[in-house]
Amino acid sequence: MNFFADAFAYILDPAHWAGDTGIAQRIADHLLYTGLSVGIALLIAVPLGLLIGHTGRGRSFVIGLTSAARALPTFGFLLFIVLLAGLGLAPLIAVLVVLAVPPLLAGVYAGIEAVDRQPVDAARALGMSEWQILGRVEIPLGLPLMLGGLRSATLQVIATATVAGYVAQGGLGRYLIEGLARRDYTLAVVGAVLVAALALAIDGLLAVAQKLVQPRGVSRGRARPASTRERRSSRVPAIIRTPTTEGNL
């Protein structure tokens, strides 16, 4: 009756870690899907987000894209694409990339947008070129929020890669799907525990990275007078913020 205890016993049994459908292989699959799609999405979203954030043009495009992406039921989208494009690594990764781009783009854009205008204007007045302003002022100051976008995108991809266990042969979602299909509830709990642990571990690492990139001398929120906080947070629209983009540990 105690499914959690049974699930932990299953996970701790070394025999379940080996082989093509073992835990180790499925964690590796999950990490492969996540890393590959977030990597490709970064290549698309970072240059575009920097451009939009720095120039301020295309703001409504980012907000619209983020809202649309939130509204899209990812599970239906995934099944639709797999049905049309076939079941392979490429369609799966393509879907995950499409899902990862909006939060990344929003994070990069929001990172630049939330930077106080005063240091930017000061940098311009000191004679920095636009590239220097971007590279030495806006990116360092905006990096924590940008990593917040990376956290949201990564979580989204890990969660969708789990659901992808419904169609794909790999990844930790298989335990959940197989467990539900065979009415083997222990196996489903095994999947739930493993995927939750993976998500928490990766998010924890990214959260630490987010703390480390915080420039010295800049502390967010807390000690700031209320009026400044209001201005800062209202500049980034709620639609592109998530519990992770704000970088609170």
């Binding site: 939130r70 039921p73 049905l83 659901v163 979602g173 999947g191 939750a196």
Partner: protein, 215 residues
Amino acid sequence: MVWLWNNLGLVLGLAAEHARLSAIPILVGFAASIPLGWVASRFAWLRGLLLTVFGIVFTIPSLALFVVMPLLLGTRILDDLNVIVALSLYAIAMMLRGAIDGFGSVSPDVLQSATAVGFAAASRFWTVQLPLAGPVLLANLRVVSVSTVSLLSVAALIGKGGLGYLFTNGYQRAFPEEIVIGIVFTLLIAAVFDIVLVLLGRLLLPWSRRAGRAA
């Protein structure tokens, strides 16, 4: 399209279930985030604790949370409550930061003035701080609403996903049109919820049409 006409009853039934199973968590998330956001904006140590706890909940992939809910709640697998509680937790996690921001966005000068002209603590909260935080709360609630409606379809895998049923069924029958109809109706529900929230905002916060959009 022919399929839609022939199965209109099914689709509308699922849409109604979808609307019900997502509306409850949205309302619960909003209602819970007000006291939680208020205490979190007053006490720094509670803010850290609440944000950490709900940050962890938010990190857990939805399917995993749906599946372990019966163990935590003692419910049966097909109980509505599993999905409702899991989505409510996500809704609170998403809404909490907005509520803290919202209450924090009210200028301390205004609050002190309210106290000075004789508002008691409770009435100051209900009649001054809450309405002034309204636009920020509304902006966040709209995000919660859209996300919840779209997230629910994953619960089709545990048999409680509203329109998500059309996704799994359409996939099994290799019938893309059914999946598209599921997506379109999900988007329609999200749009209707959003319009309702915007109209409520206009009605309850008539002074903040611009601020509501900017926040």
